[in-house]
C-alpha cells in the first residue's frame, strides 16, 4: 500500500535526502558504461578539461538524484513515473568522495483534467556538495496517483 499520494504534496513543501557519498569506483563505472569522455575517466583527462580534474558525468549525478528520490519518496508512493524534465543545470563538478545532499521543493501541484485518478507535482531538485555549494538543479513534473485512484 502506498503511503504518499498526490494529495500529500503542497507548494512550498521541502524534503531533504542524503548525504550520499560518491565513490571513485561507481563514478568511473558509470563513465565507462555511458559517458567515456576523458574528463570522466581519469585525473589527466580531467585536468586537461574545463572541469579542472576528474569529475562525475552529469548524468551520473542525475542518476544518483533519481535513486535518492526513489528511495526517499517514490517507492512508498503512488508514483506513476514522469514524462518530462523541464531543465537540468550542472553548476559545479562532482568529485570522488563528495557527500551529496538533495533538497526537493514542491513548486506547484495540479490534478489532471482528463484523468482524475492522477495529478502532477512539479518539483525543484537541488543537489548540494558537503560544503553547501549547489552542483546541480533540475525541474520536473512528476505524476502521482490520487487517493481515489486505482492504486489507492
Amino acid at each position: 500500500m502506498p503511503k504518499i499520494y498526490f494529495e500529500d504534496f503542497a507548494p512550498g513543501q521541502v524534503r531533504k535526502f542524503g548525504p550520499r557519498r560518491i565513490t571513485r569506483e561507481e563514478m568511473l563505472a558509470f563513465a565507462a558504461d555511458f559517458d567515456p569522455q576523458p574528463m570522466h575517466l581519469d585525473e589527466e583527462g580531467g585536468r586537461a578539461s574545463m572541469l579542472g580534474g576528474l569529475a562525475a558525468s552529469g548524468l551520473f549525478t542525475c542518476s544518483i538524484a533519481m535513486r535518492m528520490v526513489a528511495d526517499g519518496i517514490l517507492l512508498r508512493s503512488s508514483s506513476m513515473g514522469a514524462n518530462a524534465v523541464e531543465e537540468i543545470r550542472w553548476l559545479a563538478p562532482v568529485r570522488a568522495g563528495d557527500a551529496l545532499t538533495l533538497r526537493l521543493t514542491v513548486l506547484d501541484t495540479r490534478r489532471s483534467r482528463s484523468r482524475p485518478d492522477l495529478g502532477f507535482v512539479r518539483m525543484l531538485w537541488e543537489m548540494f556538495d558537503q560544503d553547501g555549494g549547489v552542483v546541480m538543479t533540475l525541474t520536473a513534473p512528476m505524476m502521482f496517483g490520487t487517493r481515489s485512484g486505482p492504486n489507492s
Binding site: 558509470f30 559517458d35 576523458p38 542518476s63 535513486r67 517507492l75 550542472w90
Partner: protein, 158 residues
C-alpha cells in the same frame, strides 16, 4: 563535431542504434531507478506501462554513450585526413526532456541529433556554445524521447 568554427547549423548526426535488453534495463534500474515497472516483469504488467520498460535516465545515458562514440569516430576520421579536431564538452545543461513512449525490453532505439544553433560563449572566450536537438525512435519509427542540450565546443586557436 570538431572546432566551433567547423560546426554547421542544420547538420543532422546519425548516432546509431541500441538494443535495450531486459537484463540491461533491470541492471540500470537496480542501481539508479528501482521502481517496480523498471525491475520486475510481473509488476510492470500491472503498471500503466504494461510491460518491463527502461528508466528514462537509462534512455538518455545510452544517447550519451552513442554521442561520445560518434565523436571519437569523427575525430579519428579528421585526424586521418590531416585535419584539426577537438573534443566537445562539458554541457552546462539540458532542457525540454520528454519521454514520449515507454522503451520496452527488446526495443531497438535509433538516436539522432540536429545542430540547431551556435554562438560564442560570453563567459569563456575560448569556447563556443552549440545547441543540439536530440531524439530517439524505436523500431516502429515512433519517437520515444527527445531533449535539447547545449555543449561547450573549443574555438580554433588564434
Amino acid at each position: 563535431m570538431t572546432f566551433y568554427e567547423h560546426v554547421r547549423v542544420g547538420e543532422c548526426l546519425r548516432l546509431g542504434s541500441h538494443l535495450f535488453t531486459a537484463d540491461a534495463i533491470r541492471s540500470f534500474a537496480k542501481s539508479f531507478d528501482p521502481q517496480p515497472f523498471h525491475l520486475d516483469e510481473e509488476a510492470a504488467k500491472r503498471s500503466q506501462f504494461g510491460a518491463l520498460c527502461a528508466s528514462g535516465w537509462h534512455t538518455i545515458a545510452v544517447w550519451m554513450r552513442l554521442m561520445v562514440e560518434f565523436q571519437k569516430r569523427e575525430i579519428q576520421a579528421r585526424h586521418a585526413r590531416g585535419e584539426p579536431a577537438a573534443t566537445f564538452g562539458p554541457s552546462p545543461g539540458f532542457r525540454d526532456v520528454k519521454w514520449l513512449k515507454p522503451v520496452y525490453a527488446g526495443d531497438i532505439i535509433t538516436y539522432e541529433t540536429e545542430i540547431t544553433a551556435k554562438r560564442v560563449s560570453a563567459s569563456r572566450p575560448g569556447f563556443g556554445l552549440v545547441t543540439l536537438f536530440n531524439w530517439g525512435a524505436n523500431q516502429h519509427n515512433e519517437r520515444v524521447m527527445s531533449f535539447i542540450n547545449t555543449v561547450f565546443v573549443p574555438r580554433l586557436p588564434r
